[in-house]
């Protein structure tokens, strides 16, 4: 038996060491590959599970409609207590506006005030200024029609809103003025469009479509047929007139002989003569506003074609002056 020489033993030992080193290298390389591949497998599995099922999508859509209904209700709860909260409005989405054609002052606001956060902020301040004894603004929301876009990014809704208001003396100088707190009906229809901002639904466009405002002791049928506000399509001015005919601050005219300058369900009502001075503002691009005819009931007026028309299912929001609220 031939014993290996010392040199051979060294060589053998070195060879063994190299073999071990190669094995360790292979193991490490294999591990490295696994480290790279395994997370990919895991990510793929997660991606598969992240794809929403039909049920998940349906739940999210139902939740959205519920949120929107709550949002609109909250708006009028806040309005009843003369509050306005930033979080209700879509301040961060271009084109946010409130249009209130219940009376002249609100129309002026539509033109001047409500295309921006600045305008909405001022509406809020004006509403806060109304917080004094004798104010009452209660507006209900009935007959809801809410349609969520197929893409889930916007929604549209309409409501019928019976309502009543009261104003203290001096704040609503109607045609004849008044010395005591007056109560009156303020019925309207509402159209609104909604967007999601930072995961929360917000009011993007709100439009108050007037029906009638009459003092409690006078029915809507007793409104003056020749009054300024009411009218059939033939007598109510050109399309878009609501945006074009803003009255002066504290100005009077409104259709049915009721107290002018009163708060309106849209939250845009100005406090009439008690309002703050109007600020200078940049002209508003009317092409971004809805085409709307001011309408208030009079005995000769023809009821408008369901303006607003309740929304129908749609895929993606597309601005159209004829249909936007």
């Amino acid at each position: 038996m031939k014993f290996p020489t010392r040199q051979e033993r060294c060589l053998k030992k070195r060879e063994d060491s190299m073999t071990e080193l190669r094995a360790v290298r292979r193991t490490l390389l294999c591990g490295l590959c696994l480290c790279l591949v395994a997370p990919l497998f895991a990510l793929a599995a997660r991606a598969q599970s992240a794809a929403k099922s039909r049920e998940e999508i349906q739940i999210e859509r139902l939740e959205a409609i519920h949120d929107i209904e709550n949002l609109m209700s909250e708006y009028y709860w806040m309005h009843a207590s003369d509050q306005m909260k930033d979080y209700l409005m879509a301040y961060h989405t271009p084109g946010a506006r409130v249009t209130n054609d219940l009376h002249e002052q609100s129309m002026a606001q539509t033109e001047k005030n409500t295309s921006s956060k600045q305008g909405l902020d001022r509406d809020a301040r004006r509403i806060e200024m109304r917080s004094s004894p004798g104010f009452l603004h209660v507006h209900l929301e009935g007959s809801p029609v809410i349609e969520l876009a197929a893409d889930g990014k916007s929604a549209r809704g309409t409501w019928i809103s019976p309502g009543l208001e009261a104003d203290p003396p001096g704040m609503t100088p109607g045609p004849a003025g008044h010395r005591t707190t007056v109560g009156y009906w303020a019925w309207a229809k509402l159209g609104a469009e909604f967007v999601k901002e930072n995961g929360q639904w917000r009011i993007w466009h709100l439009h108050v479509y007037s029906l009638f405002m009459t003092p409690y002791g006078q029915s809507w049928a007793e409104a003056d047929p020749n009054s300024e506000g009411g009218g059939s399509p033939a007598s109510s001015g050109p399309p878009g007139g609501a945006q074009a005919s803003g009255g002066p601050p504290g100005g009077g005219g409104q259709g049915s002989g009721g107290p002018a300058g009163a708060g309106a369900p849209g939250g845009g009502g100005a406090p009439g003569a008690g309002g703050p001075p109007r600020e200078e503002e940049a002209p508003l691009d009317k092409s971004t506003l809805p085409i709307s005819e001011k309408w208030l009931y009079t005995p000769t007026a023809v009821y408008p074609d369901a303006k607003p028309l309740p929304p129908v299912p749609y895929n993606t929001y597309q601005f159209d002056r004829n249909t936007t609220y």
């Binding site: 071990e20 292979r26 193991t27 480290c35 209900l140 009821y303 408008p304």
Partner: protein, 282 residues
């Protein structure tokens, strides 16, 4: 154990076998320990990742569970759809959009019906007569001048059948009517109740039976307690002097007066039910 976890274990086993094949090589105890640690780490990491991914996957469910979930969601969706449907009815009626109104009704389900305060219209053809002949038409601007009817649907109770094929709903409607006679407009408070059955046709909910119940119809300047009216008169709320095209008299005729008791079943409040039967129809 999920399929993904099993696959991970198989991969780990394969690696182990591959490494074991190197037994022909002489590997020191230290390098074996290193391999063991590395391999164990890989397996632990893989199991962790697979476990994490498994947690995000929905629990597997049988086809029955899936069908049950789908039905429950569809029934929730139906509540919204039915509310939208009935609300549209009130908008269209205010604007005398009668073709749009008729389109809200079931078009090919037998038994479509509408009961107005003045009588019953049986079948889709009669329902069309109700809205095309016995209501103001949108195009008739002359007759519509000064007329305003607003119904507001509130206080809904909506039940969708367990089988998801039908639904029932009731609403209270504070509202107003305005008629014009001899050029003079007359304002009335008009509060009603609505009862309706719904059926799904081609994937869309439709009004199957509509029944309008009276509460009071009173002149603006008289309270409901002061009114002398005990029965509704078609001439007061629809076309003055018009001969209606009903198939039969109304099945209910209650209206408030000082000597009437509020009915507790007009309409009955819908209760949860599995399948529709005609006895529960409004």
């Amino acid at each position: 154990m999920g399929r993904f976890q099993l696959a991970v274990l198989k991969v780990a086993e394969f690696i182990k076998e591959t490494i074991d094949k190197e037994k022909c090589m002489r590997i020191s105890r230290n390098s074996s320990a290193v391999r063991g640690v590395v391999l164990g780490g890989f397996i632990a990491a893989l199991l962790f990742l697979s476990s994490a991914s498994a947690q995000t996957k929905p629990a597997p469910s049988g086809s029955d569970q899936q069908a049950s979930l789908t039905l429950r969601l569809d029934r929730l969706q139906a509540v919204r759809d039915v509310q939208n449907l009935m609300s549209r009815y009130t908008y269209y009626q205010s604007a005398a959009l009668q073709d749009e109104t008729i389109a809200l009704f079931a078009q090919h389900t037998p038994g479509t019906r509408a009961e107005m305060l003045w009588g019953v219209y049986d079948g889709l053809d009669s329902v069309k007569k109700c809205y095309k002949l016995d209501h103001l038409q949108h195009s008739d601007l002359k007759k519509r001048a000064g007329v305003m009817q607003i119904d507001t649907l509130t206080t809904p109770v909506i039940q969708v059948a367990g089988d998801g094929k039908t639904a029932k709903g009731i609403w209270v409607s504070p509202g107003l009517d305005t008629t014009v006679a001899d050029g003079k407009a007359s304002a009335k408070w008009a509060w009603y109740k609505y009862g309706a059955d719904f059926v799904k046709e081609d994937g869309a909910w439709k009004i199957w039976h509509l029944h309008i119940y009276g509460i009071f119809l009173t002149d603006y300047h008289k309270s409901w307690a002061e009114g002398t009216q005990t029965k509704y008169d078609a001439s007061q709320i629809a076309l003055v002097g018009h001969q209606m095209h009903t198939d039969r008299p109304p099945t209910t005729s209650w209206a408030f007066s000082a000597d009437t008791v509020f009915p507790d079943d007009q309409p009955s409040i819908p209760q949860p039910y599995e399948t529709f039967n005609e006895k529960m129809a409004y």
